[in-house]
Each structure stands twice: as structure tokens, then as C-alpha cells.
Symmetry: C2
Subunit: 264 residues, 2 copies
């Protein structure tokens, strides 16, 4: 593992639950030498990627990140394409909606939107989603290449009792998603949460996924139908905003989903 990779790994420990981390915590979390950790943190700080809370001396995300994110968003807009579709999806379904972006090593949560209707709603903590254990991941795998599948198969930790354990289980789930155009995961990542996801495309192909995370006990057949319909609409809108086209096979699968409902 390169020095740079080690330093970058430190950034992975930040989350909405843990937005500030001190030297000793980093030392323990990363299981790396304290001196080394300190040097890495200092280097990241002087680059502006981190900054120290003057009061606690704990490290947090620095302002340089804002500049980089702004630049990416100006030249390659992604969040902008969600601005209307994601709140609409959350409101129409009454559940939490989120969209994630596919990169070399998995899915990164781009944005999430919570429905105002229910007091009990799914709150997202993780911003990095595993391919094999989330509806979003399955949706991406269903329309990604074999290389992506290989990376998913490389590491398959079990999060709950129902997380796919074997390559066969995973491939079966992916095949179902490919056939129906929507991935459904029943408590494979977090207990009590059922995930529904549709793939998103940009001009280069599969680019991410849009998903609804619903409280499992609330999912009735009626709600599920509503979620699937809204999810297809949202995915169509977002992919169009991102300059992507829906593959014919997926368009057909979606039409088949909607067909029985809209037929006279």
C-alpha cells in the first residue's frame, strides 16, 4: 500500500456520525503508527484537505475540498441533475430517497432527501455503499460490465443475516434486477430497511443508482408499486439530466413493470 493510499484512507474514516477525529482516534482506527498518522494528517492539513478544530485540535474536512467539489460540479454537473427529481421521489413515496455515484471501487452517496410525512424514516449514515449488499449496488451491477462484478465478488462482507454470501446468491439477485429493471434488497445492509434502486446512466454508460430506503414494516404491495413507478420516473429524469440514455433492454423491463398497471 502506497503512502498516498494510506493518507487517503484516513479520509474514509470521516462520516456524518464522526465528522471530527483526533490523532489518537486516527491512530486506533487506521491501526497505523501514531507518528506516521500524525505526519499524514499534517500533510493533508497543509494541503487544505483537512483542518484542525482550534478548540479540540481534532481534524475535520478542510476548505480545499469545497473548491474541488465546486470545480467538479461546474464542469461535470451531477448534483444539479438531482435537485428536482430526488425531493419529488422522497415526497411521492413518503420514504427516504438517495442517489449515488459509481466509481472505481463502489458507490458514493451523492445526496439524500428525507420525506417529511413520517417521523420514523430511514436516516443514512454511510456514504460509501457496498455493491453486493445494497439495492443500489445490485442495480449498478445489473447494468455494469463484468469488471464491476469481479470487484463486487472480491469482497463480500455480511452485514445482516440476509446479505448475499455466495457469488451464486449475488448473481441471482443481479439477474433478477436485470430482468425487472429495479433492484430490491430486503434488509441486506441494515435490518429493518428495505431498499429499492434503479440504475442511472451518463454519456459513458452506467454512472450510479437512485434508491428509496423504506422502513421494512411499512412496505405493503401498494407502497411497493408506488415506489417502483416513482423510481423509474426519477431514474429516467436523472439519467436524462446527466446526458445518458436508457439501454433498450432496461426500457423494455420498465415498460413491462408499468404495463400491467396501466393496461385497461
Amino acid at each position: 500500500m502506497s503512502t498516498i493510499a494510506k493518507a487517503m484512507e484516513l479520509l474514509e474514516f470521516f462520516s456524518l456520525d464522526r465528522p471530527e477525529i483526533g490523532l489518537s482516534d486516527f491512530h486506533r482506527l487506521a491501526r497505523r503508527d501514531k507518528a506516521t498518522t500524525f505526519r499524514h494528517l499534517s500533510a493533508l492539513e497543509s494541503a487544505g484537505l483537512l483542518e484542525q478544530n482550534p478548540a479540540t485540535r481534532a481534524y475535520r474536512i478542510g476548505p480545499a475540498v469545497l473548491r474541488l467539489a465546486h470545480m467538479r460540479e461546474v464542469t461535470l454537473p451531477r448534483r444539479a441533475g438531482l435537485r428536482v427529481a430526488l425531493p419529488r421521489l422522497a415526497e411521492a413515496t413518503g420514504e427516504t430517497a438517495h442517489a449515488s455515484l459509481l466509481d472505481a471501487s463502489g458507490l458514493t452517496t451523492l445526496a439524500h432527501h428525507e420525506a417529511p410525512q413520517h417521523s420514523a424514516r430511514v436516516v443514512l449514515h454511510e456514504s460509501r455503499l457496498p455493491l453486493h449488499a445494497t439495492a443500489s449496488g445490485i442495480a449498478a451491477l445489473a447494468f455494469g460490465d463484468e469488471d464491476l462484478m469481479k470487484r463486487a465478488l472480491a469482497a463480500m462482507p455480511a452485514y445482516t443475516d440476509t446479505t448475499a454470501r455466495s457469488p451464486e446468491d449475488l448473481q441471482a439477485a443481479v439477474a433478477r434486477a436485470r430482468a425487472s429493471g429495479i433492484a430490491i434488497s430486503n434488509q441486506t445492509f441494515e435490518t429493518g430497511v428495505t431498499g429499492f434502486a434503479a440504475p442511472l446512466f451518463d454519456s459513458t454508460g452506467i454512472a450510479g443508482a437512485v434508491a428509496v430506503a423504506a422502513v421494512s414494516s411499512r412496505v405493503t404491495p401498494e407502497l411497493q408499486t408506488l415506489i417502483l413507478t416513482e423510481l423509474m420516473n426519477a431514474a429516467r429524469t436523472i439519467s436524462a439530466n446527466w446526458g445518458g440514455t436508457i439501454p433498450p433492454a432496461l426500457a423494455a423491463a420498465w415498460a413491462a413493470q408499468a404495463g400491467p398497471e396501466t393496461a385497461p
Copy 2:
């Protein structure tokens, strides 16, 4: 220079004008070995901080940056505090308004807003502002500590004929800003652009600056008075949003500015 610092430096070469950079360009821009540059880029890519454009193989900012920026904004909102004040400042003055955040090595542009009134307006290209050559930098220096001034004096490249060259010139400009509460820079960074800036504060002290960049030929005494008034209002609002307090000396300086106008 540490390996991490070198890798981080690569990120500095991105700008709105140059959002994608290939291996050979990096090799030339950073004046560093091609093999090493490639390893650094690969490491940054596998961390998600960069990604390769599949068509051109050039590198661009990766999706991990969006996740980090989102996290910072949720836990330490800064952009949110500008949402109302910055557009108002641009509209009221008819010129381009922008706000920047102070970090260890200078100012980073957070957001900018262009006035709709004029077809000729200042368009910002640089997201990294030098302390010694911009109104924002002078404003920050006027209310920052000596350490910040030391860093400003360490590197003072000349951008135009009127950029401060000597430490004395800079310290004089800073003293004027400290006395009046507003920094004014006449074409010290870009020719044809006059900058006006006020310091911004958060709970820890000086945190950045809010500025108006005006087309120099359009600046009349009337416009200048308008800009100063609006700038003070904007700075007060934003600092309040950021949880900061205006130092008494600055409040007095601003009152003196406004005083002569509002006196009967």
C-alpha cells in the same frame, strides 16, 4: 517535500479553465518525474479523489470529493450562510460578488454571484486568491494574526503593475484596510478590475472575506459608496450566519464609514 504533499499539489493544477489534465501535462506542470506522477495519479484515482475520463484518459476531480464536501457542509455549514447575502450583494451593486474562506495557505473561493444588470461583468477564473494582491487578502490580513502576515510576506508575486511589491507597501495597504474596515485594491490582481472586500468571522475569529469585483472604468464615487455600504451589510449577515462576532474596532470603523452619509 513529502510524498503526500506532492500528490496533493497535483490537485492544485485543476481550475475552472483546466478541469481535466492528462499524465504528460501533469508531468510538465508539476515538473516531476513521469513515472512518479503516474503512481501519484493512480493512487489518487483509486481513492476516488480523481477519476479518468474514459474517452480521453485525462484525469479529473473524482466523486469522493463530493462526499467529503457534502460532509463538511452538513457539519460545518459555510455555503449555506451565503445563500441570501451574496446574490443580494451582487444585485444591489450591479457587480460580481464573491466570498472566500481562509485556510492555512491562503484564500479559497467558496462561491461567486454575478449581477444580471451589466453584460460586461467580472468573471472569476481563479479559485485560489493570493493574500497580498487581492482586496479579500488584504481584508483578511487586516484582521488576522501576525502568523498570517508572515505567510503573506513569504511569497509576493507581482500580477500587475500595481501589485504590492515590498513588505512596506503591503503593510500600508493592510493598515488602511484596518482603519477603514474595508480593503480596496485597484487592479492589483487583474487589470481592469477594482476589488472591495470586508473580513468575515466565525466562532474562532477571522474566517474569510466577502468581496465585490467591479469593472474599474465603471467605479464612480457614488458606486463606491454603494458598494461599501452593501459590503458591510453582507459581511455582518454572513459573519452572523457563521457564528462569528465583529471585533469592536471593526464595528467602529464601519460605523465611521457609514456615519458621514447618514448624519443629518
